[in-house]
């Protein structure tokens, strides 16, 4: 008998249907969120381990990233090819990815192959081999990516911005690692990175598809039960070191890539929802958002521009990006700064507030379009410490934002003097 308890909730999708989210606890005590949908005979499973590349040991930058890439390169009694053949023979799909704050595993498998697919994935997560030949081969792939990043304007901008903003904190450098550190990583470093990141005390799981709560309970214990109880301690908060200004990085290309940002506002802040609505109205990637209207639609200065509240575990930012030809980028930045200042003092209009609310509330249910997206969203909610009814209450929080909230928060959120631009290219009239 499986001990699984259910906490059924209903997400009101537009019109009529409801999405029932259950909380499942395995016999061994691992919890997961589940949306059962038996229409299509497969399951999407999403697992995130909090910590990610920020857990790299001193001098080992890039270890978690390389370790994550090696999870599917041999496990148990299978070498890399043996593992890949077993996976493909089951038509199971596993994707492993490292981020600043987590290591993620996305899987999908047919119902008919579920047990074998879970056994295989368990071997990868619990018994990865880190064979020396695999370490060396995948290391070369990482080094290849590092070389590519040196010539990629987006990567150059991002690395420069992070270094300026966060200095020595792990957020201040790319989790892909440095040439020196990656070249020196050993098999022992992989074993250490694995032990540091994949543990019970930091795991979040969600599933969607053709699986019952009882079946998921068994699966959780089988898949994750043998991981260690604890991993490495999480890093502390990152201090924001940037002030307003512009940093130009010379790069021979006809179009400049621009990354800009300022300090943001916490997910737990009582003003988060007004800030979220404000950001969408100003910098949502949609055609009708203010920056798209002013910089693309009216002036033709860029193909696209967007801003976003970047809420990481140890820092909160308001970030944005666009590209513009070298002879237009200065004008685009001038317009952007003016819009930033205008938004800080005037906020947005009643009509913009209304349109932004209907967009955000109307489009929210569209995100839940399939088992893969659903399991991914449900894990995100858990990592953000949302209650299981968040999907039901989220739209009401958007609806509750008033014009007074907007005015109050706009002055706090948008900091025209704190906005820093990193421009990679050969911009005219900027330095």
């Amino acid at each position: 008998m499986i001990r699984a308890f259910f906490c059924l909730l209903a997400l009101a999708l537009p019109a009529r249907a409801e999405l029932a989210i259950q909380e499942v606890t395995s016999p061994g005590g691992i919890t997961a969120w589940l949306v059962e949908d038996h229409n299509i005979p497969f399951t999407a499973l999403e697992i995130q381990f909090r910590g990610g590349t920020s857990l790299d040991a001193p001098g080992k930058r890039g270890a978690v990233n390389l370790m994550t890439a090696l999870i599917e390169e041999g496990a148990g009694d299978m070498d890399s090819l043996g593992f890949a053949e077993a996976r493909d023979a089951l038509a199971a799909e596993f994707h492993f990815e490292s981020y600043n704050d987590s290591v993620g595993v996305s899987a999908r498998f047919l119902t008919e192959n579920r047990d074998a697919a879970v056994d295989l994935l368990r071997e990868a997560l619990v018994n990865p081999r880190f064979d020396q030949d695999a370490v060396d081969r995948v290391r070369e792939q990482v080094l290849s990516i590092l070389r590519s990043n040196e010539k990629d304007p987006g990567a150059i901008a991002s690395e420069a911005f992070d270094a300026l903003a966060f200095g020595d904190h792990p957020y201040g450098s790319t989790g892909d690692g440095t040439f020196e550190a990656v070249a020196a990583l050993t098999r022992d470093d992989m074993i250490a990175a694995h032990a540091a990141t994949l543990a019970h005390d930091r795991v979040y799981v969600a599933a969607s598809g053709d699986i019952t709560a009882a079946e998921l309970g068994v699966l959780l214990d089988r898949l994750l039960g043998d991981l260690p109880a604890t991993g490495a301690p999480l890093p502390g908060d990152a201090e924001w070191l940037l002030t307003g200004g512009t940093t130009v990085i010379d790069f021979p290309t006809p179009q400049s890539t621009v990354l800009f940002g300022q300090i943001g506002l916490s997910r737990d802040d009582p003003d988060f929802f007004p800030a979220f609505v404000l950001n969408e109205a100003l910098g949502g990637g949609r055609f009708t958002a203010r920056l798209m209207t002013e910089i693309r639609e009216k002036r033709g200065l860029t193909y696209g521009i967007g801003t976003y509240l970047a809420n990481m575990d140890h820092a909160d930012m308001l970030m944005g990006q666009f590209s513009a030809s070298n002879d237009k980028v200065a004008e685009a930045i001038t317009v952007l700064k003016a819009e930033w200042a205008k938004a800080a003092t005037e906020g947005i209009s009643e009509a913009e507030l209304a349109a932004t609310k209907t967009y955000l509330t109307g489009s929210y249910p569209l995100r839940f379009n399939g088992n893969g997206p659903i399991s991914s969203i449900l894990v995100g909610m858990q990592m953000d410490d949302m209650p299981i009814d968040y999907a039901v209450t989220r739209n009401a929080k958007i609806e509750a934002v008033t014009l007074d909230d907007i005015r109050r928060v706009a002055a706090r959120l948008f900091q025209p003097d704190g906005l820093h631009f990193v421009v990679v290219g050969q911009p005219e009239g900027l330095k």
Partner: protein
């Protein structure tokens, strides 16, 4: 495993389909398969309805049977330019209001252009289907363009070209190679257009192209999601039914390729290149209506050679048996009106020259032609094809895309439905037959992406 250069093997799904002459004659499909219904309006608009009642959402796609390969010579980019201009308003809908109306209803919309088609789509709550059908039908015949709109949007498109093509040496190499691959067929022009021709595109170019090609008898409407065929038929007749067909629609017979007698070789040197790589394309047959056997075999061939970063023939030989490459891939997409291409990409290890890796790659191909595929590998691919059939049903956008694209390039519903069966029935002998045929260097373009001033630039 890491690495993500180049296109990926796309798995296609078969669905058991209820074919019907009218919307009301819907047959009952087997359990758990999405019912698909087709009908044609009197003005020539083909309509496809794909039912998926799991969630109350809907996707509308309208596919115009016109793309970059149908552009008047010297006006490259006009198909894509018009795609942008379609958001500029009509007699009823003000400038840029199309997206505003949709977004205020929580919908998302966009559009894309290829050589064979131009398509527009919206994703929105199912109870707002009527609104998006009214909007899309309205702009099929009633577009309004001001000179200002056209000039500003042309700047946006030049920025798009700068961002997607001119800033990326790999994109520039692909563009050059395609122009060399197609010596006579208009598939050789870039969809976004050559910069000097885009700079000269005018409002008149856009409008004359629009008036001729944007019409119900040159389009396919796909509605997928929580809808019924009856409901879609009533709405389609109400909004699209009154639109006048165009008299300028003729079969798409583009200039065809002459026999290609000599390999073309291109070296693109760019200081923004970090990883030199080798890219080879061969002219290859496309899926033909009623005959997609060769295309299915080529799809399997691409998957065997370079579809998986660990188990494929190229990866095993160049990354596992020896460590002379860091990435390899093979790809083929046969869904088109005219000739397709079969591609191979290899990124060599840092100390390996392109000349060496090219010889290595050709040795792997030669060896494959002698020994043939591993039967176990073929069996794994069959399992993956069958699984893709199931996984793909999770994504109504992908389903709508499959039908819209297939019908727009001239395939029948039977061809589209039969694709997975065609893939599953490919034999070792089929793979070898197409491999023998396609790997003909006279039909090939070989591209090297290099850093300026390196030995490799000099060698070529």
């Amino acid at each position: 495993m890491l690495g993500s250069l180049g296109p990926r093997f796309t798995k296609r799904a078969t669905m058991v389909v209820a074919l019907a002459l009218t919307a009301t004659a819907l047959a009952t499909p087997p359990a758990a398969a999405e019912p698909v219904t087709t009908f044609t309006l009197e003005n020539g608009l083909d309509v496809v309805v794909i039912e998926d009642h799991r969630a109350p959402v809907v996707v509308q796609m309208i596919w115009y049977q016109v793309g970059a390969a149908d552009e008047p010579r010297g006006h490259s980019g006009i198909a894509h330019f018009l795609e942008h201009l379609m958001f500029k308003g009509t007699e009823k809908v003000g400038p840029n209001e199309f997206s505003a109306i949709l977004e205020a209803q929580g919908g998302d919309d966009n559009a894309f252009t290829s050589w064979d088609y131009t398509a527009y789509f919206q994703h929105i709550a199912a109870d707002r289907l009527e609104m998006v059908m009214e909007l899309e039908a309205d702009r099929m015949r009633n577009l309004r363009l001001t000179e200002d709109d056209v000039l500003t949007e042309r700047e946006v498109i030049l920025e798009e070209r700068a961002q997607r093509t001119d800033s990326d040496p790999g994109s520039l190499l692909s563009e050059q190679m395609r122009a060399a691959q197609f010596m006579n067929h208009p598939y050789g022009i870039p969809v976004i257009g050559w910069r000097h021709e885009v700079e000269a595109l005018s409002r008149e170019d856009a409008l004359s192209y629009y008036k001729r090609f944007y019409a119900p008898n040159n389009a396919t409407l796909v509605i997928a999601g929580d809808v019924t065929p009856d409901q879609v038929k009533a709405l389609a007749e109400k909004y699209y039914g009154p639109l006048e067909p165009s008299e300028g629609i003729v079969p798409r017979e583009r200039p065809q390729e002459p026999p290609q007698l000599a390999e073309r070789r291109i070296t693109l040197a760019d200081e923004r290149v970090s990883e030199p790589y080798l890219f080879r394309t061969y002219l290859a047959p496309e899926r033909d209506p009623g005959n997609q056997k060769e295309a299915a075999a080529l799809t399997i061939l691409a998957h065997l050679l370079g579809g998986d970063g660990q188990t494929s023939v190229l990866a095993r030989a160049l990354q596992f048996d020896r460590q002379v490459a860091v990435y390899s891939s093979a790809f083929y997409d046969g869904t088109g009106i005219d000739d397709a291409t079969f591609g191979l990409v290899v990124v060599p290890a840092p100390d390996v020259m392109l000349e060496t890796i090219e010889a290595d790659m050709d040795a792997v191909i030669a060896d494959f032609l002698k020994t043939g595929p591993d039967p176990a590998a073929l069996e794994r691919i069959r399992m993956q094809v069958r699984a893709a059939d199931i996984y793909d049903r999770d994504d109504i956008f992908a389903l709508a895309n499959r039908y819209g694209e297939g019908l727009t390039v001239g395939l029948s519903i039977e061809d589209i439905e039969g694709w997975d069966e065609a893939l599953a029935s490919v034999t070792e002998a089929d793979v070898m037959a197409v491999a023998e045929k396609v790997f003909d260097r006279r039909n090939a373009v070989t591209g090297w992406l290099v850093q300026p001033g390196t030995e490799e630039e000099v060698v070529e």
